[in-house]
């Protein structure tokens, strides 16, 4: 696609429910990143994919968070048993591989846990 696409754009869920967030990267981009941004704050790294593998998942805050990527393209971030502190904007970015390439972001999914 022309840009990184994330869905849904907004999600309101009840505490304790599971949610899935989707990211469609730019076609041909082998690297995919998930970040979390709390209101007005900087970006917190969650996980990085190179192809379908995740060489760095050090930012996942707990075992309730998981992510997968299939076919080297679409990625899904799953949050199980959501808590109110999970409320944030979840941003996905993709890039070509290489040291000096640039990351392009989607518009994010605003998750609200009530």
């Amino acid at each position: 696609g022309a840009g990184v696409s994330q869905s849904p754009s907004n999600k309101v869920t009840e505490k304790g429910k599971d949610v899935e967030l989707r990211c469609d990267p730019i076609s041909g981009h082998t690297a995919l990143y998930w970040y979390r941004q709390s209101l007005g704050q900087g970006l917190e790294f969650l996980i990085y994919f190179q192809g379908n593998s995740a060489p760095d998942k050090s930012g996942l805050p707990s075992d309730r968070f998981s992510a997968e990527r299939t076919g080297g393209s679409v990625s899904t971030l799953t949050i199980q048993r959501t808590q109110q502190e999970d409320s944030a904007v979840y941003l996905c970015a993709s890039s070509l591989q290489g040291p000096n390439t640039e990351a392009f972001f989607g518009q994010g999914t605003r998750l609200t846990v009530v």
Partner: protein
Amino acid sequence: TQLLEQSPQFLSIQEGENLTVYCNSSSVFSSLQWYRQEPGEGPVLLVTVVTGGEVKKLKRLTFQFGDARKDSSLHITAAQPGDTGLYLCAGRDSGTYKYIFGTGTRLKVLA
């Protein structure tokens, strides 16, 4: 742990003033990017700097990468209300290729 500290955290200025935002780290990065983010949107890339000492200009914006590739600055000349937003620097880790984001500078330019 790699960290990127930005300063100032908040900045409110009048239209026409100049400003500089700083991005500092103790780590060396293979490249550094600057992004601007507006409410409800994802960050949008402004520039990438790669070489130590490099200076890039984008209209009224001037970006500089430190000689040691550990720090960077963004200078805006004659700021306009359209410059309002959250400015983020991001360093690309040379080993993992992970992007480490700075803490952000929230700029408000008053007409």
